[in-house]
Symmetry: D3
C-alpha cells in the first residue's frame, strides 16, 4: 500500500490542496485517495483540480447523474476503491436504492450487449455512422 500523507506531515503545497478539498466539500475529512496522491504533489493538484471542476462545478449534467456515470465506469473496470467512494457520493447526492438497483442492471446489460455486438461482429448501421 502507498503510505498516506496526513495533514500535519504534509508540505505547504499539499496542505493547500487538502484545505481546498475540505472547504469545497464542507468537511474535515480527507479521503485516502488524496492522502496517497499526495506522494506526488503534481498528481494531487492536477487530479483534484479536474475532480473539483468536472464532478462539482457548474455544468449541463446533474451532479448526482455525474456520480452514476462515474460508477458505471468504475464498476466496468472493477475499481473497488472508486465503486465504494462514488456509490457513497451518489447516495449523498440523492440516489435512491431503487435507482441504485436500476443503475446496476443497466451497467450489467450494457456489459452483456457490448459482448454480443463484439461476438456477432455487427457492422454499424449506415444511419449511425
Amino acid at each position: 500500500m502507498t503510505p498516506l500523507i496526513e495533514y500535519d506531515q504534509a508540505s505547504p503545497e499539499v496542505r493547500a490542496v487538502y484545505d481546498d478539498i475540505m472547504a469545497t466539500r464542507q468537511t474535515d475529512y480527507i479521503n485516502n485517495m488524496w492522502k496517497a496522491l499526495a506522494n506526488h504533489p503534481p498528481s494531487l493538484q492536477r487530479t483534484w483540480a479536474r475532480v473539483k471542476e468536472l464532478m462539482g462545478g457548474p455544468g449541463a449534467i446533474d451532479p448526482m447523474v455525474r456520480e452514476m456515470i462515474y460508477i458505471a465506469v468504475s464498476v466496468t473496470n472493477n475499481c473497488s476503491y472508486c465503486i465504494a467512494t462514488h456509490t457513497a457520493a451518489a447516495r449523498a447526492k440523492g440516489m435512491s436504492e431503487e435507482a441504485f438497483g436500476e443503475l446496476m442492471a443497466i451497467i450489467g446489460l450494457a456489459n452483456e450487449t457490448n459482448r454480443l455486438a463484439n461476438g456477432y461482429r455487427i457492422e454499424v448501421d449506415e444511419r449511425y455512422r
Copy 2:
C-alpha cells in the same frame, strides 16, 4: 460478419420480436443488432425483452440518463457499435452537445482515476466499506 436476417426471411418467432421493436419504438427500422441476434432466436428474445424493460420501461432513472450510463460502459469497453447507436439514442432523448462533451470528460476522468487508485494501491477508507 454475421449474416443479417431481414423481416421477410424471418421465422414467425423472429418476426414477432421485430414487430414488437417497431411498435415499441414507433419506427419501421430494425437495427443490425437485432438482425444479427435473430440468428439465435432465444438470444434475440431475451435481449430485446431486457432492453425494452430496462432502457424503455418505467423506472427511477430518466431514459436519457439511462442512455448516458449505457454510453459510459460502452466507451469504457470500446464497443463501437454500441457507442454509435446509443449516442444516437441519447441525442434523440434530448442529450445536448454540451452534455455529450461533459459525459466524455467524466468517462475519461473516471477511467484515469480508476488506474490511479489501482496503481497507488489505496485501501478503502473505513467509512466507505
Copy 3:
C-alpha cells in the same frame, strides 16, 4: 498496419516456422497474424510454439472447447482479429450454430454478472475461499 512478410521474402528462420504451420495445419495458407509477427522472429517462434502446443497438442480439454474458451476471452477483450479467426477455427472443429449462439449468450451473461458482483461489492462466501 504492420507490413506482412510473405514466404518468398522471409528469412530461413521465418520460413521454418511457416513450414511448420503449414505442415501442422495441413494447409498452404499462412494467416496474417503470423506474417505480421514475422517482423520480430523471436515473437513469431515463441507464439507459434505455444499456440501449437496449447491449441493443437494433446491435453485434457477437447480442441473445439479450447477454441470456445479462446473466443470467450477474445470477445470479452473485443479483439476483432482473434474473434474472426478463432470462430472460424471453432466451426472447423465442429462448433454448431446452436453452440455458437449459446456460447455468445454465456459470454454475455458472465460479462453482466461480473459487473453485478463488482457493483454490489459481494464478499466471497467462506466456503469458496
Copy 4:
C-alpha cells in the same frame, strides 16, 4: 459491502427465488451473490432466471464446459467473486486439475495474443471476414 438478505428476513418474492435456487441445485445453501441481489428483487429474479436457463438448462454445450467459458470471462475481467464460485462449480461438474491448468494456460495465451493482434494492427484475412 451490500447487506445480505437472509431467508427469514426476505419478502415472499425473494423467498420464492431462494426456494427455486435450493430446489434446482438440490442444496440448502444460498450464495452471497443472491443474498446481495435480493436488495433489488427484479434483478434477483431476472439474473437467476437467466443463470438457471443458460448454465443449467438443456443446450448444445456440456454444463462443465459452460462453467469453463464463464471462468474464461471472469478471469479476463478479474472478477474474484465469480472466479471463486464458478471454479468451484466447474470442479463440482467434473473439471480435473489437469483441465484447470490447461484452462488457465489457454486464457493466458488468448489474453496475450489478443494484444499482439492489437499492437501489430493486423488486418483480418479476406477469408475470415
Copy 5:
C-alpha cells in the same frame, strides 16, 4: 464519426490551442484527435495541457519511454487510434524495430500473467504488501 473542426472554421479559443500544438511540436499538422476534441473546447484545452506537460515536458522518464508506456496502455485497452499515433510518436523519438518487437512481447506477457494471477487467486506475498 465526430465532425473535425478545421483551423479556419475554429473559434479563437480553439485556434489558440491549435497554434500552441503546432508551435510545441514544430509542425503545421493537427491530428484528428484535437480536431474532434475541438467540438468541446474545455476538453480540448484540458487534454492538450496535460498531454503537453506529461508527454513533452521535463521529467524523470525519457520521452521515448513515455510513449512506450502510453502504447502499453493503449494496446491493453485496444484503442486503435492511440496505438497508431503513439507508435508513430515513439518511432519518431527513436524506438527501434527491435525495441518495438520487445515492447509487444512484454505487453503480451503481462496481459497473460495478469490472468494467471487472477485465475490462480494468488495472495500477495507478505513482503510485497
Copy 6:
C-alpha cells in the same frame, strides 16, 4: 486461494525451476506466483522461461523500463498481485519515486485519452495508418 507448493513438497521438475529462479535472481525467496503455478508444472516451466527471457535477458529495452511497461499493463488491468510485485521489482532496478509518480500519471492519461478517442469515434489520420 490456490495451495502454494513449497520447495520440500515439490517434484524434481518443479524444484529445477525453483532452483533456476533462485540462481537467476540470486535470492533464496520464491514468490507465491511460482508456488501457485507449480500446481501445473508445464505452466510453471513455460511462464518462468518467458519471464526469464523477456524481463531479464539481453534486449533493446532497459530492464527497469521493462518493469515500467509491465506495471502499465498491470495497472490498466487492475491485477493487484502483479502491481505489487512489479512495482517492487522496478524500484529494485532503480525506479525513483519521481519516476513512479510520472509513470502513474502517464498511465492515467492514456487510460483517459483512450476513452476520449473511443467516445468521439475518431478516424485514424491518413498518415498514421
